[in-house]
């Protein structure tokens, strides 16, 4: 198990290095630096700023300096937030995004798994068709349509929640629903397929033959195998949650990392864009390793390999 972990982590190093290199040169080749504004600034001030941020050095010097800064977590000052570093921004806003992501994941699992299990046990009845058609809707509808519509309906017309902000617990509901509904739909479909497969297996028949109540058969014997597709989906889902957070945090004015990333892209803060992309890449790689580990723990068949 430990060996598996170390190998996977070792494999991720060249990937991260490649991502860093691609991103660095992409960002570096962008026209219009952070100081090209509409307002005219005296050339010597721009010169001084360029010197301060180290933009005058040769590209390879900047490449290795920036690499070293990211490896030692000693980030340079940012151009769009004077006095702050990318580390400050990420440290402050990522917990918000993480919380949003956890709520969304909870929504996805709490809605998705029971719906999928129900649909699988009542296959080809109304209890199967109705939620599965709803799930199809949930998968096709984009986040930026669901979000404003939920805000309009529950926030403006019914007045149950605030339309934007991130202060108390009720502010979490709409963003979490918006982000989580797509995954709830997806999880429901995956659970249904997984459960249908498992429910036809011999060991489930054995459990039924032993005279166990159906509830125990489904929830204790079948569910464990039935949620396997969901577990392997969690890795890609995280990448999707990251992208989704850009939109959801913009809609609901959530002060998370996604909104900062979009803002950094809009204001051409190249070093913040670079640091954030690297952070996201590392996060997603780590999460994928964790998901693989979880799969091995849950599935005894994989453990032997």
């Amino acid at each position: 198990m430990l060996r598996f972990f170390l190998i996977r982590l070792g494999q991720s190093i060249p990937t991260l290095l490649a991502i860093y290199t691609i991103t660095f040169f992409m960002v570096r080749s962008a026209p219009g630096g952070p100081f090209s504004q509409e307002r005219k600034v005296a050339p010597h001030i721009i010169e001084a700023q360029m010197e301060y941020y180290g933009f005058n050095d040769p590209v390879y010097v900047q490449y290795f300096r920036s690499l070293e800064q990211h490896l030692t977590f000693d980030f340079p000052p940012l151009t769009s937030y004077p006095g702050l570093t990318a580390g400050d921004i990420i440290g402050e806003s990522f917990p918000v995004s993480l919380e949003l992501g956890i709520w969304a994941l909870l929504v996805a699992l709490l809605f998705g798994i029971p719906t999928g299990v129900l649909a699988a046990t009542k296959q080809n009845t109304a209890a199967d068709y109705a939620p599965m058609s709803m799930a199809m809707l949930g998968i096709c509808l984009p986040t930026f349509v669901i979000g404003p519509l939920l805000a309009l309906f529950f926030g403006v017309w019914l007045g149950w929640f605030k339309v934007s902000g991130w202060f108390d617990l009720s502010d979490r509901i709409l963003p979490a629903l918006t982000l989580g509904l797509f995954y709830a739909a997806y999880v429901a479909r995956l659970t249904r397929v997984g459960m249908l497969e498992v429910l036809g297996m011999d060991y489930v028949r054995t459990a039924r033959a032993k005279g166990l109540p159906e509830r125990i058969v489904v929830l204790k014997h079948a569910l464990r195998g039935g949620v396997m597709p969901v577990v392997s989906f969690l890795g890609p889902a995280l990448a999707g949650l990251v992208s989704g957070s850009f939109v959801v945090e913009t809609i609901f004015q959530v002060p998370g990392l996604g909104r900062h990333f979009v803002q950094a892209a809009l204001s051409r803060d190249h070093s913040l864009v670079l640091s954030t992309v690297l952070f996201y890449a590392a996060l997603i790689i780590l999460a994928n390793v964790a998901v693989d580990a979880a799969q091995i723990l849950l599935n005894p068949k994989l453990r032997k390999r």
Partner: protein, 347 residues
């Protein structure tokens, strides 16, 4: 099946028959054709331009009519374009009864000003600049669908070339090329597109850039599909035969192998169009995509979301158009997959 057993049926017409039996897919196909025709042809007939503004008219709900105000009864052009509410509140002397008279006679005169009801009906209402929403949706649809098609074409080209070359050559080069795909997969598409949009900041070629940026990230899955197909195909006799008579690898790849991957490629491309439209709209929604005065469904939904508390139709109507089109494309793609699936047609 009612086709003549003796006549050879091409796989394509067989697939078409299967698709015709799928009512949801056919309905989606019909809807999709309708939307495309509406967006590209209707603007030629529709009397209102998407750029016509009237700030005094402002945002009005669907099916609203305006009132033209002329200071001189004879002149052709009107001086102001106002709403019925404005007429009652600002210009009328007897409140509602003036409006009733105006509606009955189509025109009226009040304190030297001439009012006439406009024969323009804003079918889906207007936005806060008084622009006709239906005209704007058609305009936005042209951009969204155009991006959908062209970016899909870009990613299709890259994916087919990359995948078939990688699959045909095989060995270490193949492993290397697929490793690149894996690395790119590790970055969420949206991050990558945003990066590309940051790098190529240019206002003039904005639209072109979006095609390239989206095409450049969405080819990955296409490349994998094509590579898998090519690896499966390249060990078959017709490729051996081609090689034996000395056909160059380039010709083998692009004349013999790539066309044979068409089925899965078409299915995936149909599903790619909505994915690309979604990506473009998401970008535009975030302010990184289409810039005003150009509009796409994404920017329209963004404008609607900003003003939904006062003008909800600006959010609901574009969302409806966009979602229905996405549904249709997804159902059509699923239907095509069932119809073209080689495995299911074997008995």
């Amino acid at each position: 099946m009612n086709t003549n057993e003796n006549k050879a049926v091409s796989p394509w017409s067989e697939a078409w028959h299967r698709l015709k039996d799928n009512r949801l897919a056919m309905f989606s196909l019909g809807y999709f054709v309708l939307i495309v025709l509406l967006c590209y042809l209707l603007p030629l007939l529709y009397p209102i331009s998407p750029t016509d503004q009237s700030l005094s008219f402002g945002a009005n709900p669907p099916l609203s009519k305006g009132i033209e105000l002329r200071y001189d009864a004879e002149q052709e052009e009107f001086d102001e374009f106002i709403t019925e509410k404005e007429f009652v509140e600002l210009y009328s002397e007897n409140g509602e009864s003036d409006l009733e008279r105006l509606v009955a006679d189509q025109q009226t005169e009040l304190s030297g000003m001439y009012f006439s009801r406009s024969d323009r009906i804003h079918l889906l209402g207007t936005d806060s600049h008084g622009r006709d929403l239906f005209a704007r949706i058609l305009q936005g649809g042209r951009v969204s669908l155009g991006v959908g098609f062209l970016a899909t074409l870009v990613s299709l080209t890259i994916g087919v070339v990359y995948g078939s070359v990688s699959g045909y050559i095989g060995g270490r080069i193949d492993a290397c090329m697929m490793r690149v795909v894996d690395v790119l997969y590790a970055i969420p598409f949206l991050i990558f597109v945003i990066l590309l949009m940051v790098v190529f900041e240019a206002s003039k070629h904005q639209l072109l850039l979006i095609f390239i940026a989206i095409g450049a990230v969405e080819w990955l899955t296409m490349a994998r599909i094509v590579r898998g197909q090519v690896i499966h195909l390249k060990s078959q006799e017709f490729v051996d035969a081609a090689r034996a008579i000395g056909v160059r690898p380039f010709t083998i790849i692009f004349r013999h192998l790539a066309p044979n991957t068409l089925g899965p490629v078409i299915v995936y491309a149909t599903l790619l169009i909505p994915a690309v439209m979604l990506l473009e709209s998401t970008l535009s929604f975030l302010g990184l995509g289409i810039q005003p005065p150009n509009a796409s469904w994404g920017t329209l939904i963004k404008e609607g979301a900003d003003k939904m508390t006062v003008y909800p139709w600006l959010l609901i109507i574009p969302s409806l158009f966009f979602s229905l089109t996405l549904f249709a494309m997804n159902f059509l793609g699923d239907g095509l997959r069932d119809a073209l699936d080689v495995k299911s047609s074997k008995d």
